[in-house]
């Protein structure tokens, strides 16, 4: 069962070849067997999952099933789930149980999905390797000595290892696309404002965006269909109609204009990764696409701009974790100052603390103009680069990550090297554009991701472009050894 895509599972469930309870139990058994080593899940919710599967079976029997009814998925532990712990990968929220569901969680539940549990992640989504999690690193199913990428590393690993049919992720600077690339799965970060941020624990509010992670573009389309749409509880969610993503999957790509930014293929890109990307581009040419080189001249500024804007917002967003109302509180505080200092020093790991410090610094009197304000200006320039590019091309392609999955521990003590893992993904967040990663030819048995960036609200086109390649190639069907 676990080798099936959602489309196939849904068909089997409707045909009553097996029940959702059986399917859910099957996935729970796989999690019990494989997760202790992979550490992709922080919390497994077996009982609620089986109860939901029971309800799904009833709906299937009654003929009231939705497209995702009975499909077992997982949520990144950044989405609040009513009654089920939401840790955000942090000791700070180790005991936190939200009294509400995130909009994305609510919508997927309405669409009938069964939630197996909450997946591991970098603490507060700050990291590119899943090593900053309070619950320990996630192992890449393709090579257990390597990282799965981050911050949605648990979701990516869980899908790659077939521990769930699909999962949710969030992407602030590449946190869906980079782990999707490193784990050989399909992930899409929608346009900023496409999915509601209500109930999604904020890292950097102007960059955070939820999206689906799945085994194929077609599966991702099904999930995004349920997740996307306006939400009055999120002032930044955008009220524009959600197209039928599945209906648009098979459009012909003849005449598709693909732009390859020269800045994405320069120094720092692993030569064999580059070759793999080139192979995929040639496939697109076979499908009738026209390829041209473009320039995104401000790209080199993406990483520095991101590491001003994101920490600035996080330093403020994480101020609520003060040990006063909920979350970690230090033992016997001497006074208020002590309560704040020790609760936060104990509750947050080193990477989160580092970013809070950077953010506090760049917003401080006397530094605001030089850092935050300047970064915001450059952010506009970066968005303008894309605006110009999209007058000439329909989609932009390049690598999702400069290298394949690196060994656990390799960059742990070098934050800047770690930050550069997201060098190709960050710009889409700064501009608010949708971006996607799909698996292409692996290098030394390790997955490589092709990144596809589209214009605002062109998720449908990205899914179409990805789906057409996945019909012609089988890179997305590869399964890690031991997970078959």
């Amino acid at each position: 069962m676990h080798e099936q895509t959602i489309l196939a599972l849904a068909e089997d469930l409707r045909a009553r070849r097996y029940s959702s309870v059986e399917l859910t139990r099957h996935y729970l058994e796989r999690i019990a067997r494989l997760n202790p080593d992979l550490n992709a899940f922080i919390t497994v919710a077996a009982e609620p999952a089986l109860a939901a599967a029971g309800r799904a079976d009833a709906a299937l029997a009654a003929g009231t099933a939705e497209p995702l009814t009975g499909i077992p998925i997982a949520h990144k532990d950044i989405f609040c789930t009513r009654g089920l712990r939401t840790s955000c990968g942090s000791r700070m929220l180790d005991t936190f149980i939200a009294p509400y569901d995130a909009t994305v969680v609510e919508r997927l539940a309405t669409a009938g999905a069964v939630v197996l549990g909450k997946t591991n992640m970098d603490e507060f989504a700050m990291g590119s390797s899943n090593e900053t999690s309070w619950y320990g690193p996630v192992r890449n199913p393709w090579d257990h000595t390597r990282v799965p990428g981050g911050s949605s590393g648990g979701s990516a690993a869980a899908i790659a290892a077939r521990l769930c049919a699909a999962a949710t992720g969030t992407d602030t600077g590449g946190s869906i696309r980079q782990p999707a690339a490193l784990c050989g799965i399909t992930g899409i970060k929608p346009t900023y404002g496409r999915c509601s941020r209500w109930g999604m624990i904020a890292f950097a509010s102007s960059l955070d965006q939820a999206g689906p992670m799945a085994r194929s573009a077609a599966d991702a389309a099904l999930l995004l269909q349920a997740m996307a749409g306006f939400d009055p509880r999120d002032s930044t969610s955008i009220d524009t109609p959600v197209p039928d993503y599945t209906a648009g999957l098979n459009q012909d790509l003849a005449g598709l204009r693909i732009g390859l930014p020269k800045e994405y293929f320069g120094d720092g890109l692993d030569a064999r990764t580059a070759a793999s990307i080139d192979g995929a581009i040639r496939e697109y040419e076979q499908l009738g696409a026209r390829v041209s080189e473009i320039s995104l001249p401000n790209s080199p500024l993406s990483v520095p701009v991101y590491y001003v804007v994101a920490p600035a917002e996080c330093s403020s967003n994480l101020a609520r974790f003060d040990g006063v109302r909920y979350g970690h509180r230090c033992q016997s505080p001497a006074d208020l100052e002590d309560l704040y200092q020790r609760s936060r020093a104990e509750g947050f790991g080193p990477e989160v603390q580092r970013r809070i410090m950077i953010g506090t610094y760049v917003l401080s009197a006397g530094y605001y103009d030089a850092y935050y304000l300047k970064a915001q200006k450059i952010r506009h320039l970066i968005a303008d680069d894309f605006k110009r590019a999209f007058t000439r091309v329909d989609v932009i392609m390049g690598p999702s990550s400069p290298t394949t999955a690196f060994p656990i521990g390799a960059k742990r003590d070098d934050p800047v090297a770690m930050y550069l893992s997201d060098i190709y993904t960050i710009a889409a967040n700064l501009a608010g554009l949708p971006g996607m990663s799909i698996p292409v030819a692996p290098v030394d048995g390790l997955p490589v991701g092709l990144q596809i960036i589209g214009n605002y609200f062109e998720e449908g086109r990205l899914l179409n472009v990805a789906h057409r390649l996945q019909q012609e190639t089988h890179w997305h069907c590869a399964v890690p050894t031991g997970c078959a």
Binding site: A98, A102, W198, P232, R320, D322, Y340
Partner: protein, 478 residues
């Protein structure tokens, strides 16, 4: 040395919305702690603010009421600092781009002159919760009912030159916010709180002295005393060769003094930046129209109209427009009685004193506007004298019915029958030959004695003018 006081005020007024500025929780005062705080007010992870449109409408209404520019686009910013009753670790406020720009407010000074005080800006923000230090045995309780309550912070220019001017300005703003219905202005419940920036400088200097900010004053009396104390403290300090330190101070009403709360060095760096969770607020012509269509005649306009239409002085006109209810009461009395000046005198004199003594608002006055008007009509038509009217007023106050009933039942009708008054005068002249002689010998003062006697004998009811005329005649003629 002659010193000049310079004062600017920051007034926080709670907007009269049903729900909070960024959540749907109610804003009612006095509920059990933490029963009016939802997930958003508690700052739980993952929650997001959504702006209350009514708060924007009320802010726009205020802007228009003080002839200020209302910004087409204003921006919410985060003011970051840690405090236990600040759930998110930041307050959502407006910083660089407030919703209301420069405006002005007129105050009337004691001598009746009008002074204009500039309003720099007014911006929307959320209130914090409350820390409760009592009843927790060394711990602090947090009540977040008030967290997220909408506030309009109204910032003045440093245009006031005395504690009295500051109070007049604060009262004026208080008057306006209640007048246009954007706030209940209840000071006991914290719906209207004042911070005063106070400095002194040698008279005639152009630059400002170093200021101290006195925080959270919640009564006009305390405002005057706090500033008075602070001014004296600063002058004493400067005259002793010291210097004023820029700091935040608190006024202690029990000791009638201000004390250091925190110095500039200890002040927070609030690290303001635009709140990425909220879009800029866009106010268009339609919104302005919707917020102002039912805007009533404003107090300044009404004050000037009272002066012109009713011929009353600036000072009285100012007093009578202290609230819409009082102004309405006055207009009813003035129109019904057709004697606006008398109406003004009675309302700002006798009635105001009685209400004040009884601790009543004009809306709860035992003497209705029509009763007072009825009494004034009896003064103007000569039925009663001004003196007797005080007696009638007292009866009206005590529920004696309308003026005519009181006059009839108590027999207070003025004696205007010349014959009756003459009879009285004759009797009195006959009984006091000595005084008559003195008067005729040129001692004019004795005239008063005769008036007094006549009024006494008539129990105050004789028409004073007639008494005067007849007495003069009789005493002269013999």
């Amino acid at each position: 040395m002659q010193w000049e006081t310079v004062i600017g005020l920051e007034i926080h007024t709670q907007l009269a919305t049903q729900s909070k500025i960024f959540s749907g929780a109610p804003t009612r005062f006095g509920a059990e702690p933490n029963t009016q705080a939802c997930a958003i007010d508690l700052g739980l992870p993952g929650v997001l603010p959504v702006l209350n449109a009514e708060a924007v409408r009320l802010a726009v209404r205020f802007g228009k009421a003080i002839s200020a520019e209302v910004a087409e686009r204003s921006v919410f910013a985060r003011k970051n600092y840690f405090y236990p009753d600040l759930p998110k670790g930041y307050q959502i406020s407006q910083y660089e781009f407030p919703i209301v720009g420069e405006g002005r407010v007129e105050i009337v000074l004691d001598d009746g002159t009008v002074k204009e005080i500039g309003v720099t800006r007014a911006h929307l923000e959320e209130d914090a919760g409350k820390s409760l230090h009592e009843d927790f045995h060394g711990l602090t309780g947090i009540d977040l009912n008030r967290a997220g309550t909408p506030l309009l912070e109204i910032v003045s220019e440093p245009d006031m030159r005395s504690p009295q001017e500051a109070v007049a300005y604060a009262r004026k703003v208080h008057q306006i916010v209640r007048w246009i219905g954007i706030s209940d202005g209840n000071m006991q419940e914290g719906s209207f709180r004042v911070d005063a920036n106070v400095s002194v400088r040698p008279l005639g200097t152009a630059t400002f002295g170093t200021r101290a900010e006195i925080k959270n004053i919640n009564s006009f009396r305390f405002l005057e005393r706090a500033i008075q104390f602070e001014v004296e403290r600063q002058i004493d300090l400067l005259e002793a060769g010291g210097r004023v330190v820029q700091e935040t101070r608190l006024y202690d009403p029990d000791r009638d003094e201000t004390r250091t709360m925190r110095t500039k060095e200890e002040a927070n760096d609030y690290r303001y930046f635009p709140d990425p969770d909220l879009l800029p607020v866009e106010v268009d012509a339609a919104l302005i129209a919707a917020a102002t269509t039912d805007l009533p005649e404003l107090p300044d306009a009404m004050r000037e109209r009272f002066r012109e239409d009713y011929g009353i002085g600036e000072y009285d006109a100012n007093l009578l427009t202290a609230s819409r209810d009082l102004a309405g009461y006055f207009e009813t009395v003035a129109r019904t009685s057709a004697a606006p000046k008398l109406a003004a005198n009675w309302i700002s004199g006798e009635l105001a004193a009685a209400l004040n003594k009884a601790g009543l608002e004009i809306t709860a006055s035992p003497v209705t506007a029509s009763q007072l008007a009825g009494m004034i009509q009896r003064i103007t038509d000569g039925t009663i004298s001004g003196k007797i009217a005080k007696q009638v007023f007292e009866s009206l106050w005590n529920g004696g019915g309308d003026a005519d009933t009181v006059i009839a039942t108590q027999g207070l009708r003025q004696i205007t029958d010349t014959g009756a008054i003459e009879t009285l005068i004759d009797t009195i002249i006959a009984a006091n030959p000595g005084q008559v002689e003195q008067y005729r010998a040129g001692k004019d003062k004795v005239f008063g004695f005769f008036v007094g006697q006549v009024m006494k004998q008539s129990q105050g009811k004789a028409n004073p003018q007639q008494v005067n005329d007849l007495l003069k005649q009789k005493l002269a003629g013999g």
